[in-house]
Symmetry: C2
Subunit: 242 residues, 2 copies
């Protein structure tokens, strides 16, 4: 007896229909990644398999596969027999990630200066509007998400999926870093700087645009308490004396 449940959907182009299992794993990873990006899942949060199974309505094997993948992307950390939890990047890792972002995003700018189309600018402006709308409404989650989307859109417009994939992980990890080390409660207000980057892009001036991007990334990093927490070895003997 043969049981056939394969669906040859996607008469369309190349991307080849994903298997049910693959779809499901991606759904789970996306849910978790999105929650991390929007800082609804703070660093250190335990991710108990059974709870994920219940709240996501998923198969345990699929949840485990998703957690494994997220661990490879440094978004969750898995300890044997202890389970998974949202990663807590160290100060050193934070600096390395921002350095890598700077390299990648500057490279993306260099590509974009050459090939940016009129329609691309429109997309970027629409993205900024979304961002401003979120700022006005004060929806913290939305602000953070839209802010990340701007950077991802730049990567997407570069037309290079390899760069996009790499940057996507770095930006998600940045959300963790901001959760951990942000100075003030005000969500980053670098919305203007995004506008500056677009303006500079439109002038086709590579050097100027690169400076805008560098400045913007530097601002984000500067808004953190990295220095404060760096090289801080807690001395249990002195911590509690007042």
């Amino acid at each position: 007896m043969y049981i056939v449940n394969k669906i040859v959907s996607s008469m369309n182009g190349q991307p080849m229909s994903l298997s049910k299992k693959e779809q499901e794993i991606q759904r789970i990873t996306n849910s978790i990644t999105k929650a991390v990006s929007e800082q609804r899942l703070p660093p250190g949060t335990r991710l108990v398999e059974a709870q994920l199974v219940a709240s996501l309505g998923a198969n345990r094997n699929h949840v485990r596969a998703a957690l494994q993948r997220l661990a490879l992307r440094h978004i969750v950390s898995i300890e044997t027999n202890k389970g998974a939890s949202i990663a807590q990047p160290s100060v050193e890792e934070a600096r390395n990630i921002f350095m890598a972002r700077s390299i990648l995003e500057r490279g993306i700018i260099e590509i974009l200066v050459k090939r940016l189309r009129r329609s691309d600018v429109t997309l970027l402006q629409k993205q900024i509007q979304q961002e401003q709308k979120a700022v006005e409404k004060g929806r913290r989650e939305d602000i953070i998400r839209e802010s990340g989307e701007f950077h991802l859109l730049l990567a997407r417009l570069s037309g290079n999926p390899v760069l996009l994939d790499m940057l996507r992980d770095l930006i998600t990890r940045s959300s963790l870093i901001i959760s951990l080390y942000q100075k003030h409660n005000n969500p980053q207000c670098g919305c203007d700087e995004h506008g500056d980057i677009i303006s500079a892009l439109e002038t086709q001036d590579a050097e100027k645009t690169l400076q805008c991007m560098s400045h913007h990334l530097h601002d984000i990093e500067y808004g953190l308490n990295l220095d404060f927490w760096e090289n801080r070895k807690v001395d249990l003997g002195t911590v509690f004396e007042e």
Copy 2:
């Protein structure tokens, strides 16, 4: 009854001892990655689970986990119910990868120009000697491996593991690309260019070093048949007429 086989090895620093399972999976992924890097596993090769289990002396579950990881890194591709095989990057993917490499490696150079130590130069020169030795002996596998190692060493000396991880994957995928698209049988002889890069680094001249690196990467890409295979839609009607 309690069975204890945990070993709290590594009284040393942070890295925390890896579990037996984790070690095993890494051993398998390393074996396959190394074979790909040295072009002993050509693109498209089927990776039958049972065969890997036999030849690597491993557990089937560990083999499967390793294949999953390699698939995420785009080194193997897995089709449902068909199993795993070594990836065959398209021309478009090849161009994207080299573009990404250029961005990353130029960024790494910029870091290195600022912080390169005397001891680092020694390490780089030792690496080049290894490479030359391989060239003299004509060991094709060794040449390819050592050539990749040079680029990885640069990344390692940058002191940024995030960059290193990203570049490692790109270089492995480059090996696949070279396997698929190299013009001549001569393994790339860009050994001199590696020397040029070191020389330029020693002068602390950022612009010059960047040009060396750009030139080197461009040479590698230029030694491929990417143009030839690009936009080549095979017409089954005309392919076989002579």
